[in-house]
Each structure stands twice: as C-alpha cells, then as structure tokens.
Symmetry: C2
Subunit: 335 residues, 2 copies
C-alpha cells in the first residue's frame, strides 16, 4: 500500500509532478503515461493526502456548518434535521465535506476555531437574530459565509424562506373564511423569522381592514409547551382563529383548545407553519405553510460555493417561496 506521491512516482518510473497531474486530471500528459500511472495508483489503492492538498492548494473543500443550540435539543426540531440534511446532501453532491459545529451557549470561541484559516473554505451559519454578534464576527474575520435566515447586516449573504408573504397568505386565508378575531402566537421576537411572520400577519390584517390588536398577539418560543401556554392566555380574549408561527406551537395550542373544550375549527380555526410530519396526523389535520428546509440548506451550500469562487461579491440574497397547505384545521374544505 503506497502512501505518498513520491512512492507512486518511483513505482511508475516518473516524477511526482506527473503523478500529481494524473491524479488531478491535467490534460498535458501523454495518454500512455497516464494509463500506466493510473493503473498503479489503482493497484496500490493510493489516495492523496487531503491535508497536504489543502495546504498546498489553499483550498480544503470543507464547508463549516454552525448551528447555535439556543434551546436544548434544538436538533429535535425537524426543521434543523431537514436543513442539515439538505446541506449535507448538496455538499456531498458537490464533493464538499461538512464540518459540523453544534454550538452551545458561549460558543464564540468555536466560531473563531471554525473560521480559522485552512480548516474550511466557508461557513453556513444558521443564525436567527437580525443582528448577530457571531455573524458580525464572521464578516470581521473575513470568513466567507452565508446565513440561513435574514440578516440586517448588508454585508452578509443569506438564504431565507419568504416568511412575510407566507404568513400574510396564511392569515389572509383565515380572514377570507370570515374570521375576524384572528390571534397569533409568534416565535421569540429577537428572531427574524418571528418578526417576519408577525409582519405578514399584520399585513394581512391591514389588507382586510381589520384592526391590529395587541391582545391577540402572544410571543412564545416555537415549542409545543410554549404554544400551549400562549393559547391559554389568548383564550381570555376570545379569538375565532389562531395563526401559530410554528407547527409545534400549533400542536400545543390544539392540545390546550381540546382541554378547554373548544371545537377546532368550528369555534377556533387554526393555521400553523412548517408542515412537520405531525401536522397531517393532528386531529383535525393542520393547515400550515410548507417550507422546504432541505431546499434551504441546499441553496445555502450552492450560494456559499458561489461565494467561495467569487469572493468579491457580497450581500447576496436568495428567497425561497413557501406554499400554503390547506387541510381542515382552518375550517376550509379540502382544496
């Protein structure tokens, strides 16, 4: 088992350079030579040392992926699983490796580590804050990266779902069905997704000439427990519909409604966001917005690679469309 270029070169009676050329598919090499060397590479099962390649070429073909684990068990959220899956799959398809960092609280040092020159060519950062110190740190350190989720920093490139328009559409759907006291359970408002979905909600209200009522807005945390608590409080203000900014919160809300003996959708219509697997198994099945997290991850990788090849560009944005999936929790017939 030969281990270095040098050995392969010796075995095939050529120089290191030629072997290197064969390995890298350089055209300027005689067909006969190429074949002979290739055969020996094959026979010996030789693989170039990645680290040495990286050092010499200045490129590692490794993409860093940083996912802040704000709450415990964030990975339990199907969104992140899918996002990660999309990232991994796209990276794989483009012959890139993925270096994963599930950053716990106080992980600033990990960012520095990941951004360390040589390790990775770029970073996909799943940052949820409009203005994130870590994102700032990344641009400051000159690391090429793309944010998954909107960012206020004009320098940062990002991919995101069209949260505003999707939320507007979801809320409008409720209004169109005649509901007028439409409440909403939002995610944590420091997160751009939460802000954007709230914005969409307000836009729909305005569009239908319905007054925005703060009492019908409850800020929660995307979890089922949070949705349940939110619903309990909202119930005091007699809503006839609820737009939950995540399916998990919608599930919690549904549990609370059931416990309070409120009929869904008859008394209160419900719409979620995400279209997690559970959504269609809920009773009644949940009307929700399908966002394709895998696609988002793939898009992030594609954009990142583009940025790596064209470092001059910055502040690029890619917005992916979502789709309203009408089931029965909203009180509309299927269709």
């Amino acid at each position: 088992m030969a281990h270095t270029l040098e050995e392969i070169a010796r075995l095939s009676g050529v120089s290191r350079s030629t072997v290197s050329r064969v390995i890298n598919g350089d055209v300027r090499v005689a067909a006969a030579t190429r074949e002979r060397v290739a055969a020996i590479v094959e026979r010996e099962g030789y693989r170039p040392n990645r680290t040495a390649q990286s050092l010499a070429s200045g490129r590692s073909n490794v993409l860093g992926v940083v996912i802040p684990m704000a709450a415990d068990g964030v990975l339990a959220d199907p969104y992140f699983s899918r996002l990660l899956h999309g990232i991994a799959r796209e990276a794989d398809g483009r012959d890139q490796f993925v270096m994963l960092s599930l950053a716990e609280a106080g992980f600033i040092h990990r960012i520095d580590e990941v951004a360390r020159r040589g390790m990775v060519d770029g970073v996909v950062f799943s940052g949820s804050h409009a203005s994130d110190p870590f994102a700032d740190r990344l641009v400051e350190s000159g690391t090429i990266f793309v944010n998954v989720g909107r960012s206020d920093n004009p320098q940062v490139s990002y991919v995101d779902n069209d949260n505003v328009s999707s939320a507007r559409q979801a809320t409008a759907h409720l209004l169109r069905l005649g509901r007028r006291r439409v409440a909403t359970i939002t995610g944590p408002l420091f997160a751009t997704v939460s802000q954007d979905r709230l914005t969409g909600y307000r836009e729909a209200l305005e569009q239908f000439g319905v007054r925005y009522d703060e009492e019908l807005v409850f800020e929660s945390d995307f979890t089922e427990a949070g949705g349940r608590v939110g619903m309990r409080r909202l119930l005091e203000h007699r809503p006839d519909a609820v737009f939950a900014a995540s399916d998990r919160m919608a599930a919690g809300a549904l549990n609370e409604l059931r416990a309070a003996l409120v009929a869904v959708p008859d008394d209160v219509a419900l719409v979620g966001f995400d279209d997690i697997p559970l959504a269609q198994q809920m009773e009644p099945p949940l009307t929700t917005v399908r966002q394709n997290a895998e696609q988002l991850g793939a898009a992030a990788v594609a954009l990142l690679l583009d940025l790596i090849d064209n470092p001059s560009e910055s502040g690029r944005r890619i917005i992916l469309p979502s789709e309203l999936v009408v089931r029965s929790s909203c009180g509309a017939g299927l269709g």
Copy 2:
C-alpha cells in the same frame, strides 16, 4: 493582522520555534519570552493554520461521523438527532471537530474519502448491520473507528445499548401482568438492534415458560407506517399484548388498534422502545424503554479518542444500560 508563525516571530524578535512553543504551551520557554510573545499573538489575533498543524503533527483533531441514510429522512428519527447531538457535544468538550457524512446509498466512495489519511483521526460509524461491508472496509483500510451498535467483527470496537436485556425486561413486564399471547413487531432483522430486541423477547418468553409462536412475530421497519401494517396482521392472531421494537412502530400499532376499536391496554397491552418525546403524549401514554442516544454518542466519542491514543487496542465494547419506563399502555398502574 499577522498570518504566519514567521511574522509573529519577526514581530516579537524570536524564532519561529519559540513562537510555536508558546502557542503549544511548551514549558521550556522563559516566562518573560512567553509573555512577550503571547501578548503579540493576542494583539495580532494570530491563529495557527490548522491544516499546516495537521500536516506537520500528523493529527487533525477532527473526528469523522458517518451515518448511513438507508431510508429517506433518517435524520427525522429522533434517535439520530440525539445521537448526533451527543457526539457533537462530547467532541466539542474535548476540542475535537466533527466531520459529518450523511451517507446516501452507494456511498462506499465517501467512506474512502473520509478514511483518507490526514482528514480525520478516526471515525464514528453508525452501522446497523451485524456484518457491515463498510465497517469491514474501515478496518481493512486501517482506519481507527468505533461502531455505534453491535458488530460481529471481533476487530471492531463498538458502543451499544443493552438491547437484549432491555427487551427481555419489557416483555417480561407484559408477562408478569398476566399477558400470555404477547406479540412483537420487530425492526428489520438485518439490523443488530432488531435481532437483539427479538432475542430479548424470546428470552422473556422462555423465562416465563411461554411457547415462542412465529405467528406472533412480525418483521417491520421501525417506522410508524410499518408498525401500523404489522399490527393489522398480528391482530388476526389475537394477541393480548404487543412489544414494538420502536416507539414509532408502537405509535402506528396504536393507531391501528384504535381504528380496529381494540382497547389499549384492556384488550391489548402495548410496550415500545426508545422513549421518544411522543411516547408520553400518546393516548394512553406509552410504556417504553428509555435509551439514551446522547449518552451513546458521547461514549462513542470517548472510546474513539481513547483508541486514537492507544491504537493497539481493538475490539473494545461498551454497553450502556437502558431503563423501562412504565406508563399506562401496558396496563400496569404507574410505578
């Protein structure tokens, strides 16, 4: 912003070697020198180039993690999320990086890539087969790795849950409550977990002097849909209890039982395996075996690092205990 050892050396008026020593905490360096150099390193925000370090030292501090994506959306299974979380967290705590490879079908080449010298110091492989070609490939290539899940290959080191004894305990629990026609829905039997849980089931039967009846065994695939199908078939043979080898299958079975108007646990008692979040929200709450996937991941990393430091050792095994969580689907009072 200084970028190389050389520059820092020049800036602080010493040689590269000395700076290197300071960086690596070598004791043989004068306190005064150390301080001076450290200050400059700090001021310049210098970080050693990881790639160069790896090449020179022969160690990358990167751990490969390979998870075969047999079925689509494997990551959706909470087990893998938790496993991955445990791995990432432990690796982080030990200053290791994680290189993730979500290997799709036909991913043999990826294994080779990951095992490529220089990239990673070792690999955590989540292989489910008793005898896995990929695992064989890894040992063949001399890659240091640990398998998550039992392996028949005496060379491979692995960490695993105590599936046999847990399954025995779960089944025995049913038998102890007086059930005699205890059926089981197994996972795919090429997987060691499935085999082991089936073995535990048989052991419990034997222990209670109950004949093993093939008609009461249905091989499925760990998914909810699979559990549902399995339950439908088993129903033909009038079981009074079911041990499902995964909570997701238990959920499917429960749905089927409900559809068939069979009372749980009165007519048919049910026990699952995994203790996924859904388990305690099922109606009735599911009695199940709690396996700590995070701990499994952490143990895998710990073992791997141990192996990296002591490459001579091989075939080490670590078995983690599980715990029966009694809720009400089995027909026992809480306790």
